[in-house]
Symmetry: C2
Subunit: 671 residues, 2 copies
């Protein structure tokens, strides 16, 4: 019953009076104890009175209706059916049994005939977390046992400690049950068990912290032992430890625990984890423990979040291979202009694999107390396989991977096929962290799709609700081949760029009308096709026109979906000239595709299209400049023919950018 309005009602515990004798009870601060006076009354009793010490608040209720508090003048009530005494304590006891409630039963005529005594020890027990998300653990938040989304929401947050803070550890922190360093603790969420009471508890009480078996493989809890003799953190709850008996120390104690998440949300794990503390009592030696109080806290494991190309770049990653020295030099210039850092992955790690975009996706995870980068590793195992674990995983740099049980992966599992839009509002719904875009064969009935475990993982993160696009018409099948997003200085804050054969034909026809039909393409192009290609030749190629009409229809299908699912208008879209050719029924670019560009704030590294030269200038470059420069963007056209384009990729596919995370906090999203 998490999240139901009643969860804030104080817990009411039944206690049975025993007329003629005294009973002892612990009264947990903030809870009520209810005793059935009518049911416990001795034969002959017709009325009852109550005496109690100052530390106890007492209320008499008849059939659920509370009477006004005990007035000094009122000494007794009629013993009606349903008469109940409800009491509570506001302050912890300094000594055992330092408070008392005495119920006196009266016979007809008013003489007392029996009494029931309850000796009370007030004890404060509160398992506390940062339920209000301000980075601090507050005391007994009434909402700590439930979790809600949105700016008015509440509920504590847990990070998956998938980074590796200690260089001594071979694997991410969440893989072991040890704490190697202070930094490891800083990633965890603090949990405080506050206990307040007399110096010693009466015999027979036990305080136990525990998790359910179904949560145990998703959480780890550490506790500091011997705080005065060198700090030593002990793993007290987790995979193989379902419960932990808490030592009662007396007075006002704040036991500090550190909690780590072990798994990101997934199809079979919605992300919520509960931790409980129970107060158990036993009546006597040989009698089992029975529960008298339970307190629960709920955490949500923070999702993995992607960053759109419109966010500020921090690090640009590129592979050094035998033939891309010039390319890297050009990228370095661009990175310098953009004021971010270039990280080159060398041959001993990349093992000849240049497709930095396809192996990994940069993201991050965030809690109120901490945020760090997390790389999602693609299920494909190419040359770069070792890169994310060997070069990225480290302090505040986490690692996550989803792998299908059976290795049935396709080109659609490369992360060129995984993008995310900037923040949008569509059909009245806000997506302040954008929406994930993945390519698929949908809505055609057969074909390639991203492997299910990765799709499920992406959907389960919830805060960037994925949109499935149709990308199976492409040979590589990657969404980044036909859509990207650039920043803009206006209210919309971005433009969506889409590859467009129609825009290319329109431009070429216009040039033809201007008498420039003999302008030649592919000048200086080092690709295999060395025949002279002119605008006239392209426009007179009927097969190419038909194939590009088909491609345009496939792109238009996606364009229509994106307009609807991202709430875009025609004015938000820029059609970037592109031409494709079909090979075995699948499309590949005819000249370098400009859409898979490298976007570093205002600096764009665009694949050099080698379009028709007009007055020494490429008319495609000229056209694209005229579309993008008015937005304050600077276009730099990079030659990627031999090192990337010739191998069915472009600039974007050969790079990867780690960006500055969103300022917007994911828990303010309403998914």
């Amino acid at each position: 019953s998490l999240g139901c309005p009643g969860s804030e009602m104080p817990w009411e515990r039944t206690l049975r009076l025993q007329p003629g004798s005294r009973i002892h009870a612990l009264c947990v601060l903030g809870t009520h104890i209810a005793t059935d006076v009518y049911g416990a009354a001795p034969a002959g009793a017709v009325a009852f009175g109550v005496k109690h010490t100052e530390g106890v608040n007492v209320e008499v209720a008849f059939r659920g209706q509370a009477e006004p508090g005990l007035l000094p003048g009122v000494s007794h009530w009629p013993l009606n059916e349903g008469a109940v005494l409800r009491f509570s304590m506001n302050r912890a006891s300094t000594e055992v049994n330092d408070n008392k409630v005495i119920v006196i039963f009266y016979a007809e005529g008013g003489q007392p005939i029996d009494q029931a005594r309850v000796f009370l020890t007030g004890i404060g027990i509160s398992l506390d977390v940062d339920a209000d998300r301000d980075g601090m653990v507050e005391k007994n938040n009434p909402n700590k046992a439930s979790w809600t989304w949105g700016p008015e929401g509440h509920g504590a947050i847990l990070l998956v400690t998938c980074d590796r803070d200690s260089p001594l550890s071979p694997a991410p922190d969440c893989d072991d049950e040890r704490v190697f360093s202070k930094e490891d603790l800083l990633d965890m969420s603090r949990m405080v068990l506050r206990i307040e009471g007399p110096q010693h508890l009466p015999r027979g009480y036990e305080i136990v912290l525990y998790v359910h078996m179904s949560d145990a493989d998703k959480v780890g809890v550490f506790h500091m032992q011997n705080p005065f003799f060198g700090q030593h953190y002990v793993h007290v709850l987790g995979r193989r430890k379902l419960c932990h008996v808490v030592q009662y120390t007396g007075g006002a104690a704040e036991l500090e625990f550190f909690v780590e998440g072990l798994q990101f949300p997934d199809e079979t794990f919605p992300g919520l984890i509960s931790i409980h503390v129970s107060l158990l009592e036993t009546l006597a030696e040989g009698i089992p423990l029975s529960p008298i109080f339970t307190d629960t806290v709920v955490f949500r494991v923070a999702p993995w979040i992607m960053m759109p190309s419109t966010l500020a770049p921090e690090n640009v990653f590129v592979c050094s291979v035998k033939d891309n020295y010039l390319y890297i030099k050009e990228i370095k210039n661009l990175v310098n202009k953009a004021g971010c850092d270039l990280k080159v992955c060398f041959g001993y790690i990349n093992r000849g694999d240049r497709w930095m975009q396809d192996e990994i996706e940069f993201g991050y995870t965030q809690a109120p107390h901490k945020s760090f980068a997390v790389v999602l590793d693609s299920p494909q195992d190419t040359g770069l396989e070792q890169f994310p674990i060997k070069e990225l995983l480290g302090p505040d740099f986490g690692y996550v991977r989803r792998e299908p049980l059976f290795k049935a992966i396709s080109s659609l599992d490369s992360f060129g096929n995984l993008e995310v839009s900037p923040p949008v509002t569509a059909a009245g719904k806000e997506y302040p962290l954008g929406r994930i875009l993945i390519g698929s064969s949908f809505p055609t009935p057969a074909g390639r799709r991203m492997t299910r475990v990765v799709r499920d993982f992406l959907f389960a993160q919830k805060v960037q609700a994925p949109v499935e696009l149709f990308s199976d018409w492409l040979a590589m099948g990657h969404v980044n081949e036909f859509v990207t997003f650039v920043p803009s200085p206006d209210a919309k804050r971005f433009r969506m760029l889409m590859a467009s054969p129609a825009a290319c034909y329109k431009l070429f026809r216009q040039k033809q009308k201007e008498g420039l039909g003999e302008a030649t393409m592919f000048k200086g192009y080092s690709g295999t096709d060395t025949k002279r290609v002119t605008i006239n030749k392209v426009l007179s190629n009927g097969i190419m026109m038909q194939q590009n009409q088909y491609v345009q229809r496939c792109i238009d299908w996606n364009r229509d979906i994106l307009k609807k699912e991202l709430g875009l208008t025609e004015e938000d879209i820029i059609d970037v000239p592109a031409l494709f050719k079909l090979d075995k029924g699948k499309a590949m670019p005819y000249f370098p595709n400009m859409v898979p560009m490298l976007i570093l704030s205002k600096e764009l590294g665009i694949p050099k299209p080698f379009g028709p030269l007009v007055g020494g200038e490429c008319c495609l470059e000229h056209h694209v400049r005229s579309l993008l420069e008015p937005l304050g963007l600077r276009c730099c056209f990079l030659e990627d023919i031999s090192s990337y384009h010739g191998r069915l990729g472009e600039v974007h596919c050969g790079t990867n950018v780690q960006r500055r995370p969103f300022a917007f906090r994911w828990w303010h999203v309403t998914p």
Copy 2:
């Protein structure tokens, strides 16, 4: 994006005009076609006009703002940036290309310089289901692609065809991909693909029905072939068939499909299934198909629903074993009085197992068009293992089972540990089908729990949100040992009965005060303990008192939870005297426990407690009568000592009742 407000907006498809030539297009009724007039305009054009046939609705829009419709006097508009033509058709074409839109471009001065012609064929395609839940498939319900709960909700419903309509089949209907009989079809949900258009479609179009791979193992779709030559149903979509090409027949066709669910909701399957139809086109031979329209319907698989003991009984099941002839005779009398049927399970099926309650739980599943019984089979495999499949599974009697991967099951997996409350309202939230109650070791940190797959299954049904009680203190650990529900004629409609040592001690003390302390228990009792037991002896047994205080605390913990989670007051609860003894730290009844009774409307079959005889009458029976008879209930005390109680069970455990389902429909619940 299911369920978002925008899903009711008509689909808008982009079509590219080709000035100077004609293009052909299918226009799907109910969708819009948008063409970018500005972008397609030839050089020199400054204005445009539109002519169109009667069957087409045309609207001109500038930068997203629609202009008023085409007025007769207005012949052309300025060719502003963002000028778009949006058109649609209301009626299917009778002939291919029978409608036209012509866009004429004008130069400065007004002379026409070019025109773009679009030849249109109107086609209606609608995949239809019973989205308004009235048992009939309506036409193109705007909500058919989403699913919402509650009385104002919408969305189609699918039954898991887990019954066996044909005696020829060895397994439930959902296990095969065949239709054996008309009855099999009646369990399925109808789905109609309505297609309306000219006699023949132009070449190159294809209509395809399909499901995603992730849904394919949860749904089966059948289609009638050759309706005029004997009806033959073909399996067209499901486990190994992801898509089905639909034959276009021309005119107005209604293709009828029958859809079955294959799996109940579960932890990894929230219950929603989508079926799609796509219209694909190709531009020419050798060019792949591209999508131009997709229609989607969503079904929710109906949950498995339990029936509380307050619902009217239909069939009472009991096992015949070698020593329970008299017991069955007594049950038969009771069943006759209650006007329901007794079904005796004989030795060749029960193989000596008498615990009918523990092997199975009766439930049902329901859709607007059909409802039938479904038995949930416990993961334990005792003598009765064969009973549900051999004796229950049949026409309109389904079967479902959840089995853990590793056979780690305990007594808490018996279905005496699975009950359901009557309809309740708690903390402002309504549970019109009640709440499932399962016993567990919660809130103690260790102990037995119901196996995870069964718990997950119960939680995943959603409409009877489970409450986890603490039952591990009992030797058998079953919730039915301490709580049950009887019907009452008042506004609340039920009372919750709870086993109560406190009530027993109170009654015994009262009798002692009345001078009846020497009244003897267990007279005529055929159990092993034959020493004379009196009220005085019981009351003077300190160990027994302490053990029962412990039991009362365990029961009170549950009582407090039930009050909170079911929204009950003291007046809704009847405490039924009971005593327990501890053996190896776990509780078992001291005398036959009256709470696990057989409830058949107003007829109660209560385990005969063999309490202290006062004037020849058992004072426990007398007391219980005084509590229950004022509610119009009739108490019949059944001797179950040797055949059940002596083996740690009672009347309830040796019986099972199939009841009349709720009148309330589960889709009106808001979980």
